[in-house]
Amino acid sequence: MTAAALEPKANMGQPVPRYDAAAKVTGRATYASDMPLDNPAYAFLVTSAIAKGRIDRFDLDDARGVRGVIDIITHENAPKLKETKLFSNGGYAGTTIQPLKSAEIAHDGQIIAVVIAESYEAAREAANRVKVSYTATAPSASFESPGTTTAAAKGQNAQFKEDPEVGDFAKAFDAAEVKLTASYDTPTQHHNPMELFTTSCVWMGDNLVIYEGSQYVYGLKNGVAEQLGIDADKVRVVNPYVGGGFGSRGSMTPRTAIIAGIAKRLSRPVKLVPTRDQGFTIATYRAETRHEIKLGASRDGKLVALRHEGAEISSRPDAYCVGGTKTTTRLYACPNVESLVSIVRADRNTPGFMRSPPEVPYLFALESAMDELAVKLNMDPVELRRINDTTTEPIGGKPYTSRSLMACFDEAAKAFGWSQRTPQARSMSDGDWLVGYGCAATCYPTQMAPSAARVRLQRDGRTRVEIAGHEIGTGAYTVIAQTAAERLGVPLEKVAVFIGDSDLPPAPVAGGSNSTASTCSVVMMVCDQIRQRLFKAVRPSDSLADKAKETVGISPAPSTQATKGDRPLDIEKAFDALGVGVVEEYGEWKPEGAPLDSFKALHAGQPRFVGGHQMKDKIAYAFGAEFVEVRINRFTHEIRCPRLVGAFAAGRIMNPRTARSQLMGGLIWGMSSALLEATEIDERNARYVNDNLADYLVPVNADVPGVEVIMLSEQDDHINPVGAKGLGELANVGTNAAICNAIYHATGQRIRKLPVRLENIEV
């Protein structure tokens, strides 16, 4: 046993190694751009050097003169594509800015030409020889720029229906014994998954195969079909492995249909491998946000008034927003709450989901403010959370299905050694280093979506599970295999899992941390269908057939312990009775409360999420508590973060090994969000400056000395059949606040703007 394989507690599965481990350590795992193509033409993108204006003229002579160039596609000769709608408006796209449609430029780095050549090298050279004349106008880059427009999110974004409020905030705040008003800023960030935003398109007659790293193969398939004006059944998206997603591959980007159209015209496979810097503008990003928090409390620490106002940047045409007030207004008991989210439009590419889209920026504000309030109250910040802990959310008065927030605080505090902390700021040091301890809460909505699956069982126990899920590093293959093995009682090594292919039964987008709950619930259901068939065949008159749901183990040697009183089924007998060689079942599952059109939408590539605060009569969240130690050199102001400790409760943990890895990666993401990551914007040109992996800082191994993950045992029977809460986006929330709270403790300086760099420290 290694540290990676945590000993399972109650309601946890086995920490088996990853299903895809051998493929990934030998280089045999095939990502989209690894797929062999027959005589591909290579595409290289040319992107706009201005953020706003129009293209007057292309001079392509020089580029066309490069040996091996096949064609250069601009708006003047591009394949015609149909308009596309934003995913939040019933479409598939992450942006409605459609490049190569006209001479208009909507943002810096927009695709303006595609060079096609016999080799990657020739395509690249020719792309660099494309000359463009523009008429540029001054762009609006961000919050500070002239020319932006601001409006409430409510009314313009279909997924942001209301600004949560309850009671009378103004009156309560006015009368509060202790008050806090503070503003917080979070920066632009880019996902930067390791795999580039590659796309390969291959036509076979009228049928299109797309190899592209995607977090939603059904969405991409349907979206590209819509743009090309062809039947969705003619499009297949294949990606058995995805080199990181973090939200960047959840919605369709314009490049895919463009490459598909070019491949069709050429009657030849086309392979696009964009550069790292192009990835900053041809996909989405986490937009910068601004917040004002007002907290009113009684002297004993009870919240009496809470107001959270947030503003987020989006593009001119698209009203994207994350609206994290839906969570921050419900996290603590408070009778008087008000909130407002606004969208500020600038000349930028449309932002999109990035790991815990609402929670990362919005909980930074709230969890920093809670720490500030604790200082004002002269109270331990853990105790402030305890005083305001609640089992019902304050806006609608709905009960949490389970809530282990304070249990997480207590476990993490113990492991961290919180009791060693002296409360006064600047009271701890070690030689030249000022030492600070800080903490914050994290939470993430528990979400589910309709899903389908097919399972085939053979006489010898070999099992094949088919579901168009996605392996983005979360362990999807592994937990799906474990679910089928446990449910059917077959050995794990006999289960084969097929995912990442839109020809398989549809699964929802791998986003919103819904995948494990959704895919494992449907696989469990379909395995039960198989068991029902087998039991009925052997004992047609036996009431046991109806009990099959409770009966574990249909093979003589089940992988899991059969419960007492189980009568293992003679699998040979059952197959003989059925007169078949294979038993195969297909099924579609939807969570309780899913809308009527769920299954239709499932096949059309439109997920119907259920969960979080949007459930009837209840609210479901996963919770955690994070503690950090920071050390700040009193002379150089160098900031180090030697210890991160997180405790989390997320219902059933399917596999403590893969879960721990996700939570560990999340904690490091959280640290990075506080201390490293920011996309710098040139205000004059609305252009991303540090668009590469040397200047856009992400953590490297030396940045991460000590990370401890604690998983609490938690059972929740009110969320989904497997009882799992998504945790992929749980651990990177709140860490940014915990670090700023620790910096305050170390230095006495409150930092309300991320990221914190050494030049921001004034000790």
């Binding site: 580039l196 790292r276 560990m664």
Partner: protein, 204 residues
Amino acid sequence: MSDKSSSRTSTFDRRAFMAGAAGTALVPMTARAAAQDANVPVARDPSLPVEVTLRVNGKDKRLLIDARTTVLDALREHLKLTGSKKGCDHGQCGACTVLIDDRRVVSCLTLALAAEGQEITTIEGLATDDRLHPMQQAFVDNDAFQCGYCTPGQIMSAVACVKEGHAGSEADIREYMSGNICRCAAYPNIVAAVKQAAPEIMKG
């Protein structure tokens, strides 16, 4: 643009490449000298494919490729060895790390022509007879990856890190593995994997 099974030996000459690609200013004397030799073209069009023989995982591979082709693109696009990954093409992320004559190099910043005559080892060449290399096994045991895209580069770098003698402490491992970015942030598990595999690699 693929494997050529010509029986001729390579006619590529480094001097001709320099003369063609870098312009005549660099090597005018050589170019003029070469002009005397009918077998070596002088004013060679640099965009014409050149022949190169790469020794990859113990086997010679003859290729006809664009002179600007990197080792990474030669492996991926011409030899169908796609284990080495492109993450930035700028030597910033380490996903393309391979061993060249036992040294770890970023193959995206190494021209294929410059690697001729050297021993290139990729992730595909690490396991023997279906048995995982100790470092590969250690990555499995310690769950030292999530999405897996950076993993081939991490493993090649880790093997070199151990052989360089930089796996003596956790702090050393962290420092000498910092050229390989893992966006999923499996770092603590990577350190554990390197620690586990180091003794066996040093022994064998």
